[in-house]
Symmetry: C2
Subunit: 275 residues, 2 copies
């Protein structure tokens, strides 16, 4: 998917919601456990119920790997299901990969070719040659960790490097890499006040924003400081939507939560872009 196609979808749906598919068998409705592939069935139900409200789905690979081969099969079925049935959806493999060059090429192959995701999240610690292999794929997007939503973000990401926080160096340096136009960045919603500074460095890039909802971030604050002229945000919500209920009404409850977020987003878009 191209960036323009993603922007178009945001305009059409008046939504910049990414639904995180972090499926834990202990948290899904127990009646699904009787089915052959409960994780896929859960995802399918959530996707069918929310695809008109969300522009992106983001399975976190950890939740699939934890179930071994069965989990990897559920992931594969999920991404195929989305690609076949909802081709306008932007798909994110939340994998946080990164390794030396020839190894990162294999990860890129895994997520962009074998699984056919539109994007994958990567970690920056190993630098340029660990990320550029991902950037080489046309119309695929590499979402690099910049400032994350967790407590540990303050351990290293905000360390002072020559008068400037490390995450700012990460953002600036990444702009010099080959095909850097294929970069997006992870910026946690729990740090809304940082968005102003971040937008000075990457005014045009899409930012994937976790941490709204369960982790305490505010949608309106993030939009106030983080939105750019094409919206430029993908707000992720996982638990608040997919675990809205663990009963037989989980589909309706998930849709209701997604709708609530989409309506907030629609209001913000209307206000900001006077449409």
């Amino acid at each position: 998917m191209t960036i323009q196609q993603l922007i178009d979808q945001i305009r059409i749906k008046k939504s910049f919601l990414a639904v995180g598919l972090d499926v834990d068998l202990n948290k899904i409705p127990q009646h699904l456990l009787e089915l052959e592939d409960p994780i896929f069935e859960f995802n399918k139900a959530i996707i069918d119920a929310t695809h008109d409200l969300a522009v992106a789905y983001k399975p976190n690979t950890a939740f699939y790997e934890a179930y071994g081969i069965k989990g990897w099969m559920s992931l594969q079925k999920t991404i195929h299901y989305i690609n076949e049935n909802y081709p306008n959806i932007f798909t994110i493999a939340d994998a946080k990969r990164g390794d030396i060059g020839n190894t990162s090429s294999m990860y890129a192959k895994a997520f962009f070719e074998d699984l056919n995701f539109d994007s994958v999240t990567v970690a920056p610690y190993m630098g340029k040659d660990s990320v550029e292999p991902f950037l080489a794929f046309e119309n695929k997007h590499t979402i690099m960790l910049a400032l994350t939503s967790n407590e540990g973000a303050f351990d290293f990401q905000t360390l002072n490097v020559d008068g400037k926080e490390l995450y700012k160096h990460v953002l600036e340096t990444s702009k010099t890499w080959k095909n850097s136009e294929n970069l997006m960045y992870v910026v946690g919603a729990t740090k809304a006040e940082y968005f102003t500074e971040i937008r000075k460095i990457v005014p045009d890039s899409f930012l994937l924003v976790p941490g709204v909802g369960a982790q305490g971030g505010s949608l309106s604050e993030v939009c106030k400081y983080g939105m750019n002229t094409t919206v430029g945000l993908l707000i992720n919500s996982s638990r608040a939507i997919i675990y809205a209920s663990n009963g037989t009404d989980f589909v309706e409850k998930a849709r209701a939560e997604a709708l609530k977020m989409q309506q907030e987003m629609s209001a913000i878009i209307s206000l900001k872009f006077k449409v």
Copy 2:
């Protein structure tokens, strides 16, 4: 496996060699491609031929994920094969994972429980709560990136933070985390001169050292500056051993390369420990 058991194996085998199982179907002997699971068959042959010379095997997960479910099955068969046939071998899932707390717990479950590896490599960028879930597992080991062997290591890892390189902050900070005795660190062999400084911060920890051989690092230099009183090093070699030949003699050639490294290591151990 406990640290003491690993140290015992190093003494018994006079080796601190870790063989990297980074299997690329384009590089293995082509006659194996006729078999049902060429990756596993290749690994099995390499392991059978080198298990008395190596103390550890390190499959890099990227090379398995690139082949989708079939790749993941090859990885599972490989780790099961090692655990069943060579229980004294230390196993390393080179996965470089790291995410927020509840997600890192799922990764830890994937590698320590589902696949039953002794250790997994992790990335530090997301800080304490992204690593501690791995450290909570008893007799499992978490190998965190400190200073890597690639060119991009100099993008961020050596940035000056208050007069000290970032990777030193990473090492120091990680020592304050819960169950930090379960930490080991990745330090690239291409940066042998850094080992002296690193040993001042983590004198007792095991260091996993990639970059000897194909990437240009020197075994004797690394040992000179990096060894501690229990050896404290695991030297990884991947391509130099497993791709020593891509003909029908690949097993003999791989063994010959591993033997060469083991003999160098044995000589170093004898010299250093006067045994």
